[in-house]
């Protein structure tokens, strides 16, 4: 599995336009954590780092003694309404879990990708990370922007720059399976 992963390094450029949903990649270089509060402040005060080619990680890590202890992804959909301005400023990728909405899928079209990291895998994540800096520390540990250097973090392309979205495919398949669902314990199932 690992041998096949495509290698990426930040800042990202047009190489990511070749990525297809479902591809496995390994990402190295600087990423910036940001959750709800950090997005709101960046919208108001401007982005405190160079956004061109940058990667945002939806994550509220556990940090101790300036080290990353645990740093798995948080639910990206919470930031659905807050991603557009970052893409407009040059951000090329988001890392998170659970995927993002149709609006973000369209905003990424021809410009960027959404990379999924396995939820709950905080120890695996931190073993690929070195802490480099912090912005907005007053927002608290979970909501601050932590500048983190990645070393080959294993990810999968969830949404590519051509509008392919494997979360959306799985969702549609689940909805269709549910329409055909009939409990076996049902005493009388009508013909469908």
């Amino acid at each position: 599995m690992k041998g096949k992963a495509m290698q990426l390094r930040t800042p990202l450029g047009d190489e990511l336009l070749k990525l297809k949903a479902g591809d496995r990649v390994e990402l190295s270089g600087i990423v910036y954590t940001a959750r709800d509060e950090a997005h709101l402040r960046m919208q108001k005060d401007g982005i405190p780092f160079d956004p061109v080619g940058a990667v945002i990680y939806h994550c509220g890590p556990v940090i101790r003694d300036r080290k990353v202890i645990a740093a798995g992804p948080t639910t990206s959909a919470r930031m659905n309404e807050l991603a557009g301005f970052l893409i407009d400023k040059g951000v090329r990728a988001f890392i998170g879990k659970g995927g993002m909405g149709a609006t973000v899928r369209n905003q990424l079209n021809g410009r960027g990708v959404y990379l999924a990291f396995t939820g709950g895998c905080a120890a695996l994540a931190s073993s690929h990370m070195i802490l480099k800096g912090v912005h907005y520390e007053d927002l608290g540990m979970a909501e601050a922007i932590w500048e983190i250097e990645l070393d080959h973090l294993p990810l999968v392309v969830g949404i590519d720059s051509c509008g392919n979205d494997i979360f959306d495919t799985a969702r549609k398949n689940a909805e269709s399976a549910f329409r055909n669902f009939a409990p076996r314990s049902c005493p009388q199932v009508e013909e469908r």
């Binding site: 599995m1 639910t75 709950g120 120890a123 073993s127 799985a170 689940a174 314990s185």
Partner: protein, 278 residues
């Protein structure tokens, strides 16, 4: 609040709570690990196989480095069993809270507990009614810590079904996962509480997650198979395993009621029990 360290019962329970918390957030129970490994070997979807590989590597790294496997170290749900010679006193509740505070600063845990309305963070994972402590009589004095993360807890649901719709239980569980999609970090464990009252059904659902997942009854297996037909897969990326196990607990209920609660638990079904030795 804090009792002097010379109270042996207080310090033994605080120590045991700390130890159980530490063990729970760092290493998974062996039955949970077996079920994850079995599913990882059986999964056929290539993206899902990659997710399972990450999960297994993460479990191994957390154990080796002694760090929490997930940064959402949850809110503390605690079960105590008290033998006849240990009286239930406020001091026991205070001792568990002391163990939680120590676990928060020393492991460390992410401070997750806030006031529900002001959202003020207490910074030590305690708060009004938290840790949630459930007490039962038992032969041994034990403490079980079950840290509950928000992603999965937020996908949980309860319904008061019609008593004539026993067959609707399975559909309610499947529908719960349909609307949850990847949010609870599947593959999940599902604790189902059936019967009792509105509150008891929810308690049963949570307790069901503490049952051994090595085996399932025919009813549990049937619900599990139906959930897996959704194909949501690990993290909602698609795959054979949306649920790893379904566990059911029941209680008697009113003849006019059929409460059903579904407590969703991510793959990291973390819990640990420690015997308290004063």
């Amino acid at each position: 609040m804090k009792k002097p360290a010379q109270d042996p019962l207080f310090s033994a329970l605080a120590d045991a709570t700390f130890e159980a918390y530490k063990s729970a957030v760092i290493s998974l129970p062996s039955d949970v690990l077996r079920v994850i490994r079995k599913a990882a070997a059986a999964e056929t979807n290539p993206v899902a196989r990659g997710e399972f590989a990450n999960i297994l590597e993460n479990i191994e790294i957390a154990e080796r480095l002694g760090v929490p496997m997930c940064q959402d170290t949850g809110v503390p749900v605690v079960y105590l069993t008290l033998p006849p010679d240990v009286p239930l006193t406020q001091s026991l509740y205070d001792a568990v809270a002391e163990g939680v505070r120590r676990a928060t600063s020393e492991i460390p845990l992410r401070p997750n507990v806030v006031d529900p309305l002001t959202r003020h963070n207490t910074k030590d994972n305690t708060g009004a009614g938290i840790p949630a402590i459930h007490v039962r009589p038992g032969e041994k004095f034990t403490v079980t810590v079950f840290p509950k993360g928000a992603g999965a807890e937020n996908s949980s649901r309860i319904a008061m079904l019609l008593p004539s719709h026993v067959y609707g239980i399975e559909g309610f569980v499947v529908e719960t996962m349909l609307s949850a999609e990847g949010k609870p970090c599947p593959p999940v464990f599902l604790g189902i509480g059936i019967g009792g009252t509105f509150d008891l059904a929810a308690n049963l659902a949570k307790e069901a997650l503490l049952l051994s997942v090595d085996t399932m009854t025919e009813f549990e297996q049937q619900i599990c198979d139906s959930v897996n037909k959704l194909g949501i897969g690990p993290m909602g990326l698609g795959g054979d395993f949306t649920a790893l196990a379904v566990k059911v607990k029941t209680a008697g209920c009113h003849t006019a009621s059929l409460p059903v609660a579904v407590n969703v638990q991510c793959w990291a079904n973390r819990h640990a029990s420690v015997e308290v030795n004063p």
